[in-house]
């Protein structure tokens, strides 16, 4: 079986342009949530999100990050052209308004990106809500591990727009105090944020054969469902715990080997409690010891792109040896007994990190990375 690595990555969010801007913002606990200027907001209960002022179209931003990630990976023109693309998005941008003669699909966006950026064919397009990016990464890793692909580029994006904002506002899931406070007492919900990210996953042997070094290895991944409810997570985190256990098993490590958990941590009261339960179930006593933070408190919840931006932040943080602070934290919640990084950045004492994500439908994913 082939080892899987990350050969390139790129991201943009309200924290700034470029991967390093994501790390700097996450380490500093920057929380760029401001009143939305992008569309009329007056009728909504909540009016803030983390938006990048000079954001281009989703298509252009996706093309940019794919290009940057491939460039960082050092791919030649031919290597890029032979690299399948996987995409994680909600839908074709503004589909209801631009589908005049026929319904526009996310696959069309992916095909267009593939042509623009010069990657190989589109391998898969994920519309699995907030686990779209991580489901794509796990699928790509499986392809590489078994030799079905040498390399895959996975990209995902969400730019805050009027329809999803209206839906989240109607669903009363948005924080009412202008801040995301994962695992904290007084948390009132999530806030949406822009994020567009891409990663190049590649066989470690192939990366090294190209005289390059992987940024990190993706050593474990797992996917599992709650079988509990259409939209609510299992209260004891059943599916998430099984996804984490599968990822650790694949990585061949015990929970104590983890030096960091990048949490799903939306800041939603019920969801954070379920996640804490899942972490205790899967990690045992180590759950209370391993440093954990949710960087959604800084870049916001980027829906289909959230798992990718969080993977990027996790890899960069582990490489830098500094762990992001869990911004917005007020005080511990007795239902979330975790080692939350409340001031930081904190230094890291292990080379393995876990990134977890969850979505409507009881979908859960876990990714384990190992940094040099």
């Amino acid at each position: 079986m082939e080892e899987v690595g990350l050969a390139g990555l790129a991201a943009v969010s309200a924290l700034g342009r470029g991967a390093e801007a994501q790390l700097a913002g996450a380490l500093a606990g920057t929380a760029p949530f401001t009143t939305v200027q992008r569309f009329p907001i007056e009728r909504h209960r909540v009016k803030v999100a983390a938006t990048l002022p000079d954001a281009g179209t989703l298509s252009d931003e996706l093309a940019d990050v794919i290009d940057q990630a491939c460039t960082q990976a050092g791919l030649t023109h031919d290597e890029r052209a032979a690299t399948p693309l996987m995409l994680a998005v909600h839908a074709f941008p503004d589909a209801p308004r631009v589908s005049l003669d026929r319904w526009r699909t996310p696959a069309e966006l992916a095909e267009s990106l593939s042509g623009t950026v010069g990657t190989g064919p589109v391998a898969r397009v994920y519309t699995s809500a907030c686990v779209s990016g991580s489901t794509a990464v796990a699928e790509a890793a499986g392809m590489i591990r078994t030799g079905r692909a040498e390399r895959v580029v996975v990209a995902g994006g969400y730019l805050v727009e009027s329809d999803q904002f209206a839906l989240f506002d109607a669903g009363r899931t948005l924080a009412t105090d202008g801040a995301v406070r994962p695992f904290s007492v007084g948390r009132t919900g999530l806030l949406l944020g822009d994020a567009v990210a891409a990663v190049v996953l590649e066989s470690v042997a192939v990366t090294r054969r190209r005289a390059r070094t992987e940024l990190a290895q993706l050593v474990g991944w797992g996917r599992a469902g709650d079988a509990f409810h259409a939209v609510q997570p299992h209260p004891q985190g059943d599916g998430m715990a099984r996804a984490i256990s599968a990822a650790l098993r694949r990585a061949g490590i015990e929970p104590d080997a983890l030096g960091y958990v990048n949490a799903h941590g939306t800041g939603t009261p019920y969801s954070d409690t379920a996640e804490a339960a899942a972490l205790h179930r899967a990690l045992g006593p180590a759950a209370a010891r391993i440093p954990i933070s949710s960087t959604k408190a800084t870049h916001g919840h980027a829906l289909e792109a959230s798992a990718l931006i969080e993977l990027v932040v996790t890899v960069l943080a582990m490489r830098a040896g500094k762990l992001p602070v869990n911004a917005g934290f007020l005080a511990p919640d007795e239902d979330c007994e975790l080692n939350v990084i409340t001031s930081g950045p904190r230094s890291v004492n292990s080379d393995h990190a876990l990134s977890v994500n969850a979505a409507f439908g009881g979908a859960n994913t876990a990714l384990v990375v190992k940094t040099p």
Partner: protein, 173 residues
């Protein structure tokens, strides 16, 4: 191909002969997308497993995969019109804003604890769904998979829609 190693253990579709009215799904409104998924999933699972729910031993690693190019276009179109009119969107539309929700509904009803995956097909939808099923099974995260193909072909003007479901596992399971 990996997908060829899968065994199809049951299939279903909507409409089938004598089908008239699509049964509604509590909590899901306006659009046929979610009732279509629920109905073909129910039929397909019932034909192989009998009555729901499955025990954790039988259903704990069964994946739920939805493949749709259109997604729930009727709901998306309704939300866009409501937003453009300056009106408030009904909260139920939040819960059906992604295909994961109906996948989770089916998974909860039947006790399917495998991965929940939603795809927009990049070629033949059935081949896409079966390839995803095969990959999940081969990778060890699933023992079997229910693949639901659903389209709202003429979604914006309320034209016909349809769905099909296939339950697959690897040989011997």
């Amino acid at each position: 191909m990996i997908a060829a190693e899968l065994t199809v253990v049951s299939q279903a579709s909507w409409p089938e002969p004598d089908d008239r009215e699509l049964p509604p799904v509590p909590g899901f409104i306006l659009s046929s997308f979610n009732p279509l998924v629920a109905e073909v999933a129910d039929r397909c699972l019932r034909r192989h497993y009998g009555e729901p729910p499955l025990t954790p031993e039988r259903g704990g690693a069964v994946a739920m995969i939805i493949v749709s190019a259109s997604g729930d276009a009727v709901s998306a179109d309704h939300v866009a019109r409501t937003v453009d009119a300056g009106s408030r969107v009904g909260p139920l539309f939040f819960f059906q804003s992604v295909p994961n929700a109906i996948a989770g509904h089916v998974a909860a009803r039947w006790g399917l604890g495998g991965p929940v995956v939603c795809l927009c097909p990049t070629g033949d939808p059935r081949a896409n769904g079966l390839a995803q099923a095969a990959a999940l099974i081969e990778d060890g995260d699933a023992s079997a998979a229910l693949v639901v193909l659903v389209e709202q072909e003429s979604q914006v003007d309320g034209g016909p829609a349809g769905a099909a479901a296939v339950l697959v596992c690897t040989e011997g399971q």
